[in-house]
Subunit: 344 residues, 2 copies
DNA sequence: TTGAAAGCGGTACCAT
DNA sequence: ATGGTACCGCTTTCAA
């Protein structure tokens, strides 16, 4: 550039970002005093007039402290990093998530979601580590490897928590036992006299971490009852459902756990169109207890999933941060119960 | 504490977080050299053997650079901050969002979502400003005030972009003209001969920013046609829908735009249960083109919304960052078209 | 080709 | 009750 080099060229118009030094200058005090006042440092007494002058100066300049500088000096941050899940999440999850964030904030943590679409597990971990979070809470399928956990801990993370089904070496694993969902649904079907039970397994990628355990749970439920379980691959598309419905009679199933309410609705519609009577011929059970299930005819039986309240998880994170050496408390964060309606 | 003061007590077990100085020491070079090697600084030539020693040392220590220190020194970051929306978002939005994040990363930005549940507009803005983001993109109803924008810009944000319906003083406003959705749906109803048209207005808080403009759009569509629009408040609950259906005949409506597919399904079910024939007596149109709409009987007519591709928005953000003084380009990011099925 | 050192914005100890 | 100052980890001249 041909511009004189003394021109910063960084903030072309408008003055520079105010720092605590600017506040100090305007208030006629030292930077230390500014820090004391703005942080209400109890160990130091500052006279009321001085406090006021500092506050007014900060206000006038629109001063906002620089989080990076602060945490650099402090040697740690209170940032909890949440890798954003790749898969589409349901309303249940969203509510839980909001609650969790809110609770963490109450505990004085800064919650930040960091998306890592299109990054490999390890480079993602490295990217997260650059932010020096005090804790990382991976909720979904974000494949966090043992290697990744090691990177994070080496860079100062005091707690790495996975919330899911896979247990990762070195991380606190909070299981959400998806198996229970399949178990509850299938047990219900068995109890109501069904013997040959289909279990829908979505073919969409990213759902495997839920569908696998649910299928396993279904298998547990039939063990020793004489009933059998048949996995049913299904894409969330009308054609896929119709194809499945077309060969329904050949499958000879009298009950089906459809993974969740959406797949259940898809399948039930296809079954009805194919002339299969629900629940007379085949009982259908979904999961998630969506409102839409109540609108179907017959009304859809479902498994209602109650996730642990966000506050509980937030406290668990806080404890893990304060006592990193404590043994990973493996809690189960889900409770499942069947809501029987008309489709089963 | 009675512990000797020389004990850091910060990392009780396990060694300290490695810094570039540690890498330098291990590699037998200076910190400067480490920086040069790890950043591939082209202005400086470092011998290949040295490069290797540095890389190996970094690898061995598990060194990850400290983002805060880096951006503090640099005087700026490439963080784009996205306040997380409070309302539950649909699958359309999620897809768009992922694409947007991906595109921003490709442009070398660090995308971070910051939740602000339970914070007032201005304190939220201050919290965001502490992170010194280079840009803030507020997508939802996160009420960003003119005051908030001012705070952010004062603290170095080169672009503040709102994506929504409200225009905020000082921010680049990218309108997503929700009105078009209501306009398209209603125009379709009018063209197919409907005269008294209901427009569902969800009572759920947080949806007002969508429902208001959609209602206005509906009003535009009937202007001068002789048709009329009747707002229909509705909660997303079965009882509310039933109550509305019970007084349907009294309302004397022959068409309804039901806000979106979910509300449409809710309402259509209630209408059918109340004996109102769809579409013979009343036509129903939803929006979002969810798969579930195709499963209903009659199949639900809908408005398909195509959002701008995330890449386009990412480039727009990039341009705004590089030329903060350029006039806010107000682009429309949505295209709406009616998909007629059987319910209209 | 490499090293020494200044400085980014805060905080907290130690003086005064 | 305040101010001076060292330092957190990293980048980037400037010298050698």
């Amino acid at each position: 550039m041909s511009q004189p080099t003394e021109q910063p060229s960084e903030r072309p118009a408008g003055r520079a970002v105010p720092t605590s030094a600017d506040v100090a200058r305007l208030a006629g005090v030292s930077r230390a005093t500014v820090s004391y006042v703005l942080n209400n440092t109890s160990a130091v007494r500052i006279s009321e007039p001085t406090r006021r002058r500092v506050r007014e100066a900060a206000e006038e300049l629109g001063y906002v402290p620089h989080a990076a500088a602060r945490s650099l000096r402090a040697g740690h941050s209170r940032m909890v990093l949440l890798p954003t899940p790749h898969v589409q999440v349901g309303p249940l999850y969203s509510q839980f998530f909001n609650e969790f964030q809110w609770a963490l904030r109450r505990l004085d943590y800064t919650v930040v979601q960091y998306g890592s679409v299109g990054l490999e597990a390890e480079e993602a971990a490295r990217a997260w580590a650059e932010l020096r979070p005090v804790a990382v809470v991976a909720l979904g399928e974000s494949r966090l490897t043992g290697q990744g956990v090691e990177i994070l801990k080496r860079s100062g993370a005091r707690a790495v928590i996975t919330l899911g089904t896979e247990k990762v070496e070195g991380a606190h694993a909070l299981v959400m036992d998806q198996g229970r969902v399949g178990e509850a649904a299938t047990a219900h079907l068995v109890e109501t006299g069904r013997r040959r039970i289909g279990v829908v397994v979505p073919e969409e990628p990213g759902l495997a971490m839920f569908s696998g355990p649910r299928l396993e749970g279904a298998r547990r439920a039939v063990a020793g009852t004489g009933a059998t379980v048949v996995p049913l691959p299904l894409r969330y598309e009308e054609e896929s459902a119709n194809a499945l419905a077309a060969r329904w009679r050949a499958l000879d199933l009298d009950g089906v756990f459809a993974y969740n309410d959406e797949y259940a609705m898809l399948l039930m519609r296809a079954l009805q169109d194919a002339g299969v009577a629900v629940p007379a011929e085949t009982a259908v059970v979904g999961a998630d207890d969506l409102l839409l299930g109540r609108l179907l005819r017959p009304r859809l039986s479902t498994v209602r999933i109650d996730m642990v309240i966000g506050r509980e998880l937030a406290e668990l994170v806080d404890r893990a941060v304060r006592e990193p050496e404590a043994p990973p408390r493996t809690s189960d964060l889900m409770a499942s119960r069947v809501v029987r309606r008309e489709s089963s």
